[in-house]
């Protein structure tokens, strides 16, 4: 199987998942309890006004037409109008998306970098404190529910030792000056992102350490040593490079988990992002909003899954060059 076949397969697969999710999204929200109409339409409205509103939200079309309209509009990112705010969902989401991306990318990058670095370090220094630390951290992060840990941090640093803000993405009103504003943002970012990093890096480090140890025991590492390569070269160019395919794949495979984790993180830290928007919308039965947010999150998950496959194909020559061998 060549890389191209591989790629095409993954694309088709991603499209199928997208289709399933779109259909799910459509079906569930049409079937939601407490008819959408009750939500948007005040019983005191005149029949005409009621009709107009039904039309505006497209509630009168037959289901198939609604479905078609829905699919086509979603693909154009026309996500309808929020029941609660009467604003286009797309623009409400667009407002929040950058916040989510900032939080997410910060947490993700730090988790990855710290986790991998600590893991590599622990693999090199067997039997030292570093190794014990990594094993402990791995176990800890496996068992502790993220939201519990975040609540603890919030109480400790937000309320007890008040060194971090307790909610939001920035101070209101924001400080003057671009640099101060930037610092303010960072200040707000530390707890939500940091808690994710602390919860995330342990299992990363543990995984990296284990794969590194496995790689360091391989024959080609002895070859590299026999060749007289410097230690650093052996470690990075041979050991780390050869475990990159599984690590990178896992990095991307962990993306969906982090994307969905954003819902909880954003709720806890009142982060003005997509995840919290979803939660608010669900609790307020604001279906178009919930639908839009869910669609966005699902899309992110599909894309990151696809990237995982793609990157796996790219870093592993056995797939990229493709000589028949499947992993």
């Amino acid at each position: 199987m060549g890389f191209r076949t591989y790629l095409i397969r993954r694309i088709v697969y991603a499209l199928i998942v997208l289709f399933v999710i779109l259909t799910f999204n459509f079906a569930v929200f049409r079937l939601m309890p407490g008819d959408a109409e009750k939500m948007i339409i005040d019983p005191r409205f005149s029949p005409e006004a009621r009709m107009a509103l039904r039309k505006q939200f497209g509630l009168d079309d037959p289901p198939l037409v609604q479905y078609w309209k829905y699919i086509t509009s979603l693909l154009r990112f026309d996500l309808g109008q929020s029941f609660a705010t009467r604003r286009p969902v797309a623009s409400e989401l667009a407002e929040r998306l950058p916040n989510t991306i900032v939080l997410f990318l910060t947490a993700f990058t730090l988790t990855m970098v710290i986790g991998t670095a600590v893991g590599v370090y622990a693999a090199q220094h067997r039997g030292t404190f570093a190794e014990t630390f990594v094993t402990g951290a791995g176990l800890f992060t496996y068992a502790v529910p993220t939201f519990f840990f975040q609540l603890l941090l919030l109480m400790l640093f937000g309320y007890y030792i008040r060194i971090f803000p307790i909610h939001g993405t920035m101070s209101a009103p924001p400080p003057d000056g671009a640099f101060l504003r930037f610092l303010d943002r960072v200040h707000h970012l530390i707890l939500p992102a940091g808690s994710n990093v602390i919860i995330g890096f342990g299992s990363w480090a543990l995984y990296t350490r284990n794969t590194m140890l496995e790689a360091l025991g391989q024959d080609y590492i002895i070859t590299a040593r026999a060749k007289g390569l410097p230690r650093r070269e052996i470690l990075y160019h041979h050991a780390l490079r050869s475990v990159l395919p599984p690590i990178v794949t896992l990095i991307f495979l962990s993306l969906p988990g982090m994307v969905t984790g954003a819902v909880i993180t954003e709720t806890i830290f009142s982060w003005h992002g997509v995840g919290r928007y979803l939660m608010d919308a669900v609790l307020q039965q604001d279906y178009p909003a919930a639908q839009g947010a869910f669609y966005l999150i699902a899309l992110a998950v599909i894309i990151s899954n696809f990237m995982a496959d793609l990157v796996y194909g790219l870093v592993d020559p056995r797939i990229r060059v493709g000589a028949g061998e499947r992993r």
């Binding site: 840990f149 969905t260 979803l278 919930a290 998950v301 599909i302």
Partner: protein, 490 residues
């Protein structure tokens, strides 16, 4: 000779793995692993707590037992470790029986006692008819209580009374608290014109009514002001009557007076004054039920799909595995959020939903095991003997994948528990059921943070953590013992 009997004979020795002494053997290996034992002990403790919940706490959080103490009351032991709670009051509840009233003053009135049907003994104050220009009759009863703590935040009381008087009679009733220095606080009062049947008046220091009566603003706290010193307080019931035409009678049933504690129980109280220890203890039941049932359903589903997929192969296999892939690529938590909002906040909905999104892992493992079992001689033999596919799957394959299934099930439990906790925490849990997730959600939503009430936050979180840890330990150990080949995975 029919196929069944032959297949049945083949089933006598379906696989080398299943032995008579299986369980004893398993236990002999299991007990040698410290992590497994720790997990088991922890789980046993959880189960004991869950079963003995009614013995461990007098309260039942499924009933609405509010204001057992003040809102956000701290645990009793906070007195010893947190300075601001050093002399904080626990809850004191008093029932003032009619004969406990001490007569302070009687003017043309007399006190007696009589049985009043189901109300039991009541105190009766008889007021003589009022005379022209001479004013009415009055009576003052008092009840003494010692208070020796820092000021409380709240007190509340109940006065139950009945008035028998001619239509032109007017009976006044009021409650006054006299502090040790003799200062009087008029906390409640009423006037009854003519007759009134049994009435219960509730008084509460948080009520605006009392605050205005005391000339306080809405931001003042009567309880704090009144009980600001330590010593003997008197609760004085003042009654008077102006009844020109005939005698008037005031009946008093037992009255209640409660000072809500700032300290309460083992873990304090929540925002509604409900007992947190009771919620924690009953939460163990819920978490175990949810975790176990979701895992059992999910893994049963996964096993069925895995066996069918692996055994039948071909397009069925392809289809089922694609479905599993799709389920795996879907963002689980958001889907669960939306579906549980859609299906309604009900515990069993959550169980089913978690199960529906957690079968994929076990189905893959079971499938690959089935694939290898399919090639084994005893399956071939059963096939040759004409046994049906369903028969082979149930009788030959299933028992052989069970060790995998069991381990998977145990490892699934913490996942299910965490999902439930997350959903409850997000406010999508069953509102009638006390769960640890809901405790955390309440803690966050109702002021545990501003009060730094870590005793509200830490126990449920720790309970979840340790329970998932114990399941993980057990699951991994079971895996090590039963499925040494799969040890590195999972």
């Amino acid at each position: 000779m029919n196929g069944e009997t032959v297949a049945g004979q083949a089933a006598v020795q379906p696989a080398p793995r299943r032995k008579r002494s299986g369980i004893a053997d398993f236990w002999a290996q299991y007990r040698r692993r410290p992590y497994g034992l720790v997990g088991l002990v922890m789980l046993a403790m959880y189960i004991a707590v869950a079963l003995a919940a009614p013995l461990l706490t007098p309260y039942d959080p499924r009933k609405t037992e509010f204001f057992l103490a003040d809102r956000l009351a701290a645990p009793i032991w906070a007195r010893f470790i947190i300075p601001r709670f050093r002399n904080a009051p626990p809850t004191s509840r008093y029932t003032i029986h009619p004969d406990q009233w001490k007569v302070e003053r009687q003017e043309r009135a007399s006190l007696s006692f009589e049985e009043a049907g189901d109300r039991g003994e009541t105190a009766v104050i008889r007021f003589e008819p009022s005379v022209e220009g001479g004013g009415g009759a009055r009576s003052e009863l008092s009840w003494k209580v010692h208070y020796g703590f820092n000021p409380p935040n709240t007190f509340e009381g109940k006065v139950t009374y009945r008035v028998e008087a001619p239509p032109d009679g007017m009976t006044r009733l009021s409650l006054v608290i006299v502090d040790p220095e003799g200062k009087e606080y008029d906390i409640w009062g009423t006037a009854v014109y003519g007759e009134q049947d049994w009435t219960t008046a509730a008084l509460d220091s948080r009520d605006l009514q009392m605050k205005t009566r005391l000339n306080m603003t809405i931001f003042d706290d009567p309880a704090k002001v009144i009980f600001s010193t330590k010593g003997d307080y008197r609760l004085v019931l003042k009654a008077s009557s102006e009844s020109p035409s005939a005698e008037a009678k005031l009946f008093l049933a037992p009255a209640k007076f409660n000072i809500l504690g700032i300290l309460h129980g083992l873990l304090g109280a929540d925002h509604m004054g409900a007992d947190l220890w009771a919620q924690l203890v009953y939460g163990a039941r819920i978490s175990l039920i949810i975790g176990i049932s979701a895992a059992v359903i999910g893994v049963a589903l996964g096993t069925t799909i895995g066996i069918i997929s692996g055994f039948l192969g071909g397009p069925v296999d392809e289809f089922l595995m694609r479905v599993a892939d799709v389920f795996l690529s879907v963002p689980t938590l958001p889907v669960l959020i939306i579906l549980s909002a859609f299906l309604g906040k009900n515990m069993w909905n959550i169980v089913l939903l978690v199960a529906a999104f957690s079968w994929m892992g076990s189905s893959r493992v079971v499938r690959s095991q089935t694939l290898s079992l399919k090639e084994r001689a005893f399956v071939e033999a059963a096939k040759a003997a004409g046994a049906s596919d369903a028969y082979i799957m149930v009788v030959h394959i299933l028992p052989n994948v069970l060790p995998l299934v069991v381990a998977n099930m145990v490892l699934m439990m913490p996942v299910a528990i965490l999902y439930e906790a997350s959903l409850s925490f997000l406010g999508l849990g069953d509102p009638r059921i006390p769960t640890w997730g809901r405790m955390l959600q309440n803690a966050r939503a109702f002021g545990a943070f501003t009060e730094l009430a870590w005793w509200w936050l830490v126990p449920p979180g720790l309970a979840i953590t340790l329970l998932s840890l114990s399941f993980t330990f057990i699951g991994n150990t079971v895996n090590e013992v039963l499925n040494p080949r799969y040890r590195e995975r999972s």
